[in-house]
Every structure is written in C-alpha cells, then in structure tokens.
C-alpha cells in the first residue's frame, strides 16, 4: 500500500510555482539595481552582528571637509552616563530584569569620580512595569514582545532619569550618554528636560551603521588630528568626530548646545581623557554598569530568596527546535 502523501493532492502547487516565477523575475531586476549602486564599493562584512570598524579607516573623503577640534583650555566638569540591563528570568505572567547605571565625572583631562546606582529589579507584565516609572503603552507593548527591546526600554528609562537629575547641576558643562539621541525607538525628550540648565547634552554613538552612513566620515577619518564634520543640523545636531590623531570616528548627537559646536567639542577634548578617540568617562561608566557573571548569579540567588521563587528546570529552545547544525541566525 502506498503510504506516501502526495503534496499536489492537498496544496495548490500552481500558485506556489507562480510565486516562485515572480521571485525570480524580481531578483533579476533588483540584482541589476543593486549592482548599479553597490558595485566596486569598499565593503565591511558582518561578524556575529557586532559593530565593526575598518582597519584602514573609512576611506575616501569624497570632497567633504573636516574641521579641526582645538582644545578649549577651560576647567569644566563632564558627566557621562551608561547603563546595563539583563534578563534574569521569566514567570508565567512576565519577565524579571536587573538594571544598573553609572555616571562618571571627568575634568581637566581625567576621570575624577563616579556614582553607581543599582542593580535594581524590574518586573514587566501586561499590567505594567514594577521597579521603574510607568511606561507608555507602546513602550510596554514593545518591551513585552522582545526581551532585547525590553532591556533597551528599561535602560533608557533609567538613563533619562539620571540625565534629568544631572541637568539640575549648573556646574556641569556637558552631559554625555552612550548611544544616539535620535533613536526612533527611544528619542530623548530634550525639550522637556532641564530647561534652566546651561550645559549641553551629547549622545556618543559607536554604532558602525550610523558612523558609516555619514558621507563626512571619510574626511574626518583622514584628518591628521582631532576633527569633526557636521552631518545634520536641527534641534539635535548630528556630527561625526574623532578626538585623537589615531582615534576612531564616532557619531555625536549634540543637543542644547549653547555656543559654537567647536567650543563644546574643544571643552570635551580638554576635560576628558580619550582612548582610541573614545571618552574615558563613558568607557568607565560602561565598565561600572555592566553585569559580570558572578553578579548575574548573585542576582538570581537574590530574587530566588527574596521572592521565594521555585526553580523551573529549562532547556535552550533554539537548539532543541532548530538542531545543532545551524550556527548562526
């Protein structure tokens, strides 16, 4: 007896075959279009989805001009903040996260001190978030759909509060945050924050896609000393800059800049220390906020005891469902 299932008897194969023809036709057209735009361009291949930087810099200036950054010899205090959030586990109703933030203060070319807050526990359920200020409905929806988005939402919530607090200090000239101020998922509500504060806020971004997308990156990369190039004007000005002669190019979003941009950047150059062009205060804030393995274990031990949790043995879903042949994706 023939026990094999005949696919054509249960599925309309003609429709699928027609779809396949459409795909082929579209590919033939788009392939030519992609060729026109991409052919011969320098290209940086992705490795494990991590941000990368080309060994030989970003290449051709292409007629764009970079302006030098000259140190502004004036003692000022710069506050840099960063935060980390990790998923600790899930219950039937929601997820538990731990979040920690750090602020590092630099002045006169070195880091002078830090303030670290957390870790604090956040429980996200459909009813809302416990442990952080109430989230907007759309934020909560995004956060519940994906743990990585949730981590970002929680981090931004905490960072916003810290930046708002820092903006109450008139002594601070510059407040820096890690990442873009214009990210579509979590734009910084600059207008609503620290109206009376006279300093400026800078978002320092390492993202290679943001850096490489700027046409001025090549010009700044080729400059012999600290340099910058403006890429977008507006309430939040966007530029690419490097802060040491052999440094890397980063993207900066500058908000509430009270004076000329070159003066703000000069102040930053004079008062912070730079390693491969990245501010030491931001680097230290990152290291102070990240969670180590032992802290991850400690947090799990803490919530188990504090909330009397019962450990539900579990296994890795992707490996079980997709098997061990796949190594990426």
């Amino acid at each position: 007896m023939n026990t094999q299932l005949s696919i054509s008897s249960v599925v309309n194969m003609d429709a699928l075959v027609s779809l396949a023809r459409e795909f082929r036709a579209e590919f033939e057209v788009s392939s030519g279009q992609i060729h026109e735009r991409l052919a011969g361009m320098p290209f940086m291949f992705n490795t494990d989805g991590k941000d990368a930087y080309p060994f030989a810099g970003w290449g051709n200036p292409g007629g764009h001009k970079a302006f030098p950054i000259l140190p502004q010899v004036e003692e000022a205090t710069i506050a840099s903040t960063d935060s980390s959030c990790i998923l600790l586990g899930e219950s039937a109703e929601g997820s538990v996260y731990a979040v920690r933030a750090a602020v590092c203060f630099s002045s006169g070319g070195g880091v002078r001190g830090y303030f670290r807050v957390g870790p604090t526990i956040v429980y996200l359920t459909e009813e809302g978030a416990c442990g952080i200020p109430p989230l907007e409905t759309y934020e909560l929806k995004f956060a519940l759909s994906d743990s990585q988005i949730a981590e970002r939402v929680i981090r931004n919530g905490l960072e916003r509060r810290i930046i708002a607090s820092l903006m109450k200090s008139p002594q601070l000239s510059i407040v820096m945050a890690d990442g873009s101020l214009k990210h579509p998922l979590d734009p910084m509500p600059i207008g609503a924050m620290g109206r009376d504060w006279g300093g400026c806020l800078i978002g320092f971004s390492k993202s290679s896609s943001l850096v490489s997308s700027s046409k001025s990156t090549g010009a700044v990369s080729e400059a012999r000393g600290p340099a910058f190039a403006m890429t977008q004007d507006g309430p939040i000005r966007t530029l690419v800059a490097k802060f040491s002669p052999d440094g890397l190019v980063f993207r900066l979003d500058v908000a509430r800049s009270p004076s000329h941009l070159d003066k703000v950047l000069g102040l930053l150059l004079y008062n912070d220390a730079f390693y491969v062009g990245y501010p030491e205060s931001l680097r230290m804030a990152h290291h102070l906020s990240v969670f180590s393995r032992s802290e991850d274990t400690a947090l799990k031990a803490y919530i188990t005891k504090r909330y009397e949790l019962k450990n539900l043995p579990s296994f890795g879903l992707r490996r079980i469902t997709l098997g061990s042949l796949s190594s990426s994706g």
């Binding site: 001190g113 830090y114 807050v117 957390g118 870790p119 604090t120 393995r293 274990t297 031990a301 803490y302």
Partner: protein, 492 residues
C-alpha cells in the same frame, strides 16, 4: 557545602567563603541513613566564567577612582561571596552506616539532598575504634586534643620525616616520653644532644620519667668489654664497621677462641695475641691495624666490671626507661661501632628473652647505621622485639622498601618536589593527599598516616615539647652583646 562532582574516590565539594574548612579536615556527606566520610586535600576558587576580566576591571576602576555605589538589594555582597566560593577537593575515605565505620566508598550520595558537614577527628576516630588504650598526647587536630595509642608503635616501624626545623624532634621526643610513661623501654641514638633533658620540663622541674632517663656517652660511661660483647658482635663490628676481609676474620675467630680458652678475653691481651699468632704477615698486619682502631676508640673497657650492662639497665628500671646514647661528640667511626655493638647486644638479649621488647629511636640513622642493618631492623629484629622509630630530614636516606613496610609515617613539611614525590610514592595513602597537604604544612604540623591514626590521614599540630631547650644550633650572631663563647677542649 554541597557535592558538585564525584570521580572515583575524588569528590568535589562547593563551599561558601564563610565555611572555615582547612586542608586535612574531614567532612561527612549524610544521605539518609548512610554517610560518606571524605577528607579535604586541596582547595581552589570556584571557577566562575569571566572572573579574570571581572577582577581586572574592578582592580583598575576602583584603584584609580573613588566613587559612590548605591546597591539597594545588596547584590554586591552576594556577588563577592560567589567570587570567593571555594572548591574543596576531597578523597572519600569510608562510610558510616548505623553509627559504624567501614572503608567502603562504592556508593554515591545524592548531590541535591545530601548534607555536607564537618566531622571532628576524635569523633571519627572513636567511630573507627582506637587500636589501644595507652594514649600519648602529641598535639591538636583542629581544636581538639590529639592522642595516639602507644600500642600503635608496638611491634611497628615508624618514620618521622620532614624538612629541617619542621618539628620532627619535638614529635619524636613526645612519643618517646609517652612510651616511657607507659612503662616501655627506649634506646635513643641521639646525634644532637636533644634527648638528655627528656625527663625535665621546660622550667627545669622533673617529670614523672626523670628517674627513668639515663644518658650514656660512648668512650666515657658507655664502654664494652670483649667478653661482654661476644664473638658475634665483635666479628660483626670488624666485618661491617672496619671492613675486615674474610681471611683475616677467620684468623681472628681462631685467636678469639684461643684467648677464650686461656680466659684472656681482654682488649689489652688482644694485641699481644695477634702479634704472637702464627699466620700470614699480611693477615697479621690487617688484624693488628683493626686492633689499634678498637683499642684507640676508647669504647672498650678492660673487664666486664667497667662495661655498660644493657640487661642491668633494664633490671634497674623495672617501670620502663630510656637509654639516651649521646653520639654528638663521637667520631663517625666510633658512632658506627657503638651502634653496631649495642644493637648486636640488644638482639642477643632479645633472642634469649632476657630483656623485654625495646623501642629504638634513631635520628638520622643513615649517619651511623650500616645499610644492611636497615632491612634487618624492620624484618628480623622487629620479630625479636626491637621496634624502630626513624627520624630524618632526608627522606631519600630511607629506602623505598622501608617506606613500604612502615606502619606509621609522620610527614612534616616538604616543599622540594623530589622529596614530595619520594614520600608520596612510598606512603600508604594516595599521592594527591600527600603532595597537597604536606606541601602546605606549617612548622610543627604533620600529616599522620598509618596504624596510629587507624589508616585515616590526619593533620596534627604537634605541641611544643615541654623540656628545656637542647640541641639548639650554636650561632655566631647571637643576641646583641653576646659574643660566641669558647670552651676549653675536653680532656681525652
């Protein structure tokens, strides 16, 4: 504490930093009605992934900058505890079932429900059963007094070894004093004049064995007569200590027999008899040179009235005693001859059951004991009743065969790898235990192995021996103001 892994007799236990567990201590893993007895032989930090980066980051950040940390949940404390978690490497030693100890380790306790607790050494030894009742206090194990039964040395070979100044002599003296307190007889071959004050306390007052101690110095108050020593002892001495060839030895026996027949067995007559003896000239020369060595050694008395009487020593100390043979100011040859004569005499007395069994304490025996005697001591002589306690800081001076036949071994600190591998191969427990524990032992602590501790390796803190300081190394740079004293040379 919890069990992490088991691999044969090796058991890994995770312990928090607050658990005060030291190397050599015993743990008991209780699982329902059975318990597994394990001993900690090494410890490491629990390998938390990324720990190196974490430590380096903290070191760099916190060393360079000051700041404020607000940690509402106190997670930092838990995290520090995790980083300080220890991995105790243990060896399974036996099991306790219904309160009875057995050496079975052929089962695995539950990793999740078993409970790991510390087990006091005395509690363990009580469960195992002590091999005697006459206890000798040797120090402490943990906070408890540590005693070993005198019976554990009876009929046994014991080795005390460790590097210089690790506390071997303290232990040897403590055991010797303990044996004598229980009525035993000991002969101590004392190289450094350490045992003469064994009967005194540190403040100079006498102990209960002070009257049982007799110190003899070869050539002064320890002399032998030819008649008393006998042909066997003298010919053995000539053969082994003075390397006399067989042909000459045969002539010597004939001379001896002739002297014996004439009732002339005296050292002064020996020379004349050799001179008058009709034999090959070379043989006569060989005999005469040995005679001169014997005669000049000062070890021989003319008649029996001046000789040391071992049997008499035992008779005069009916409740046990210690004969300290001080070899410190004796030439190497005289040392060898003294020991040879004394042991020959002892064996003869033991063979004829004229003296009770005797404990021999031999410090650095390789300096005066001929090689063939070692095996003789631990085999034939042991059966007659001579039980040896070897004390040495050179473990390679004792042959592997002797280590293998040792019943008790007290290992003090060794840091030298070759010494450690030597003792670890030869002793009665696994090499891992020996290597890890012995390497870390501080001064005056030892690892006791064998019969004295029921074959359960135990770390003992040996107490300071309560006696006036003796055998102290003479230093040039003594206390400020004190200059080295010069003594007038001894007469003779």
């Amino acid at each position: 504490m919890r069990i992490l892994r088991k691999d044969g007799p090796n058991i890994l236990v995770v312990a928090s930093p607050v658990e005060n567990v030291r190397l050599g201590e015993y743990l008991v893993v209780t699982d329902k009605e059975r318990s597994l007895v394990v001993q900690v032989y090494d410890e490491n930090y629990l390998d938390v992934s990324g720990i190196e980066e974490e430590v380096a980051r903290e070191e760099v950040i916190f060393a360079s900058t000051q700041g404020v940390t607000e940690d509402p949940a106190g997670v930092g404390t838990i995290s520090r505890e995790i980083r300080d978690m220890r991995l105790l490497q243990c060896k399974a030693r036996g099991s306790i079932e219904h309160g009875r100890y057995s050496s079975r380790i052929d089962w695995v306790p539950s990793r999740t429900s078993s409970k790991v607790t510390k087990l006091a050494v005395n509690e363990l030894l009580d469960m195992v059963g002590r091999p005697g009742e006459r206890m000798i206090k040797i120090g402490k194990s943990g906070k408890q007094q540590m005693t070993v039964p005198a019976e554990a040395f009876d009929g046994r070979v014991t080795i005390i070894t460790g590097r210089k100044e690790s506390g071997k002599s303290h232990l040897a003296k403590m055991i010797t004093r303990g044996l004598v307190q229980h009525g035993a007889y000991c002969i101590v071959f004392d190289l450094n004049e350490e045992y003469g004050s064994i009967g005194l306390k540190a403040d100079g007052t006498p102990t209960d064995i002070s009257r049982k101690v007799e110190v003899r110095r070869p050539g002064r108050n320890l002399r032998f007569s030819l008649e008393g020593a006998g042909l066997r002892a003298i010919s053995s001495l000539l053969q082994h200590s003075l390397d006399m060839p067989g042909t000459s030895l045969r002539e010597f026996v004939r001379i001896w027999e002739a002297m014996e027949a004439k009732h002339e067995l005296r050292i002064s007559s020996l020379g004349a008899n050799i001179q008058q003896w009709r034999c090959n000239e070379f043989v006569r020369d060989a005999l005469y040179s040995r005679y001169h060595t014997l005669s000049n050694s000062g070890l021989f008395a003319e008649g029996r009235e001046d000789e040391f009487d071992l049997e008499g020593f035992v008779r005069s100390h009916p409740d046990g005693g210690v004969l300290v043979v001080s070899l410190s100011r004796t030439s190497p040859l005289n040392r060898r001859m003294t020991v040879e004569l004394l042991l020959s005499k002892l064996v003869e007395l033991l063979e004829h059951r004229r003296v009770p069994p005797v404990f021999l304490v031999a410090e650095e025996a390789h300096l005066y004991l001929r090689e063939t005697y070692w095996e003789d001591l631990i085999t034939r002589m042991r059966h007659f009743g001579a039980f040896t306690l070897f004390v040495t800081n050179q473990p390679d001076a004792i042959k592997q065969e002797i280590y293998r036949q040792a019943d008790n071994i007290f290992l003090h600190n060794f840091s030298n790898d070759s010494d450690l591998s030597l003792v670890s191969q030869a002793s009665m427990v696994d090499a891992d235990t020996i290597r890890s524990i012995v390497r870390t032992l501080p001064q005056r602590m030892c690892l006791a192995l064998g019969h004295a501790v029921n074959n359960l390796p135990i770390v003992v803190a040996v107490e300071a021996f309560d006696s006036p300081p003796t055998g102290v190394t003479r230093l040039f740079f003594q206390k400020e103001g004190a200059s080295p004293r010069l003594e007038a040379p001894e007469a003779g």
